[in-house]
């Protein structure tokens, strides 16, 4: 009996956790922290954590449990189970994190490309002022999304990109509402008729006439019904819009006449041709807009719309006028007489700079 006890005592083992197995599980634990296991594989991570804490607790509480040789080492079996769970959690978290990273990156890249196209087209069509501070807010969100992405905050990067994309959609929609007339067949048709009327007048009266295309930012001079010159111009700071009231920075559209020629000394803009804005149609439109509550309470219709030169040294303000280089207004000044027509239109055809830019923007629209 004593011999049997001695034999059993010698053969019995102390249950210990193999250090290499413990280290392997600890390594998985660190890997899971790096792979943001709690965020990307919450269920798998929770299982791992639950079992790992339980086994670790046992390792601390029962360091010297004696087992007989034929009894399985349950601590090793449990550690292996934890290792399996950890491996699964690491793999799941890494995979999901990578998917999230790719999705966030794709979203962000798409947003940044859209934004670039948007800003480029906005400048082309002169619509930046129309949108006020909204473009900068969108740009800030895009930058913020990029920062989140670079910090590994892929979900936040994705959400912020989405937010910026929604803002961008609204801005494109607003531009479409404000500038859609440049792509409107009837409106463009009306403008073409106005131009034809002006050219006919020039032909019949064997005199000079002016046509300004806002979309092209160009002034055309006709003599005897034939185009003889064209010059680049700049418009009011919000020139692409229809003028509604004084100070809105828009350049009016309509059939006007030169009512006064202002030579050097009579204007601070080198030389100027004063137009008969507001004419009867402008007054009617203004009254209608006022009645519809579309104008600020103290808005007035304004006046003093000119085609003028620009003195680079003193820097003139363009609040709705058509501005040219001094040497070009010199050439125009000699051709034009008081009473000559000046027709200002949005565009000369459907394929104009604004409609093309709008179409390109609408193609990028996700909404």
């Amino acid at each position: 009996m004593a011999a049997l006890s001695l034999a059993l005592g010698t053969a019995a083992c102390v249950q210990k956790a193999p250090p290499e197995l413990v280290q392997a599980v600890e390594r998985l634990d660190r890997e899971l922290t790096a792979a943001q296991g709690a965020e990307f594989a919450p269920e798998e991570y929770a299982k791992f954590v639950e079992h790992w804490t339980a086994v670790r607790g046992r390792m601390l509480a029962e360091p010297d449990v004696i087992r007989l040789p034929w009894e399985p080492n349950s601590l090793v079996a449990d550690l292996r189970k934890v290792q399996e769970q950890g491996t699964l959690a690491v793999s799941t978290a890494t995979q999901r994190r990578e998917v999230e990273r790719q999705q966030a990156e794709a979203r962000l890249t798409q947003l940044e490309e859209r934004l670039q196209t948007f800003i480029g087209n906005l400048d082309t069509m002169g619509g930046r002022v129309v949108l006020g501070r909204r473009p900068v807010e969108t740009e800030l969100l895009a930058k913020q999304a990029r920062a989140f992405f670079e910090q590994g905050q892929f979900s936040r990067a994705h959400r912020t990109s989405q937010q910026a994309a929604t803002l961008l959609d609204h801005q494109i929609e607003r531009l479409g509402n404000e500038l859609g007339r440049y792509a409107d067949e009837r409106r463009v048709g009306t403008w073409r008729n106005m131009v034809a009327q002006t050219v006919n007048w020039s032909r019949h009266h064997r005199s000079a006439a002016i046509v300004v295309s806002k979309a092209d930012r160009r002034l055309f001079v006709y003599r005897n019904g034939r185009a003889v010159a064209s010059y680049p111009v700049s418009l009011g700071y919000n020139g692409i819009l229809e003028k509604r009231y004084q100070g809105d920075g828009a350049t009016p559209e309509g059939l006007y006449r030169v009512v006064r020629k202002r030579d050097r000394g009579d204007t601070k803009f080198h030389r100027a041709l004063l137009l008969d804005y507001p004419n009867s149609q402008d007054r009617r439109r203004f009254q209608q807009a006022r009645a519809a509550g579309l104008l600020p309470p103290k808005a007035t219709i304004g006046g003093q719309i000119e085609i003028h030169g620009g003195d680079n040294r003193v820097l003139s303000e363009t609040l709705g006028c058509v501005q040219m280089e001094n040497r070009q207004i010199d050439a125009l000044f000699d051709l034009i007489e008081e009473g000559n027509p000046v027709t200002i239109v949005g565009a000369l055809g459907l394929s104009n700079a604004v409609s093309l830019a709008l179409a390109e923007l609408e193609q990028t629209d996700e909404g």
Binding site: A46, L140, L235, G236, G303, E317
Partner: protein, 205 residues
Amino acid sequence: MKHWLMLGLASLFLLTVACAKAPTDKLAAAEQAVNDARTAGASTYMTEDFAKLEGLVANAKKEIAEEEGKIAFLRDYEKAEQLLASAKADAAKLAIEAAKKKEEAKVAAVQAQQAAQASVKTTQELVAKAPVGKDRAAVEAIKADAEGLAASLTEVQAAIDGGDYLAAQTKAKAIQDKSQAVAKEIQDALAKVGGAKGKKGKAGK
């Protein structure tokens, strides 16, 4: 009779000694400690450690449930109590560490906010000097940008107030970067015109 009395006393003794009580107070205390750690920002700033803490409490609850499933006098809550004590101690440590990290994030956010505010102020001062002239549209756009930047500073403050320091920091950095770009745009324009200031336009238009 004597036997019955002995048996009764023995049963009473067993019931008194062996029927351990579930550590509900300790569980509540551990859960409170976990909540405190969460409030201190552990779930945000030490996500994985916080998940482990929750794992500890889950283990303790499981252990309690297992013991409760046993015959009364066989119940032993010692292991659950150990787990809960461990969770409570870990939660306290985590709360301190998370609070430290949160404070660091706050300091970084406030610094970024101050840098953004200074940058926007510089830009606004430059906007006041912006050449009003030939490209009035560009100047108006710059003004709108500056207004947008100033308005966005309120979002930084809101994020700080809401404890979202990462959002505050990233937004502030974006504002600062854009503000510097706008300032450069104005400086370039000023350099082109030799710093000339615009004249007031005439009435009308």
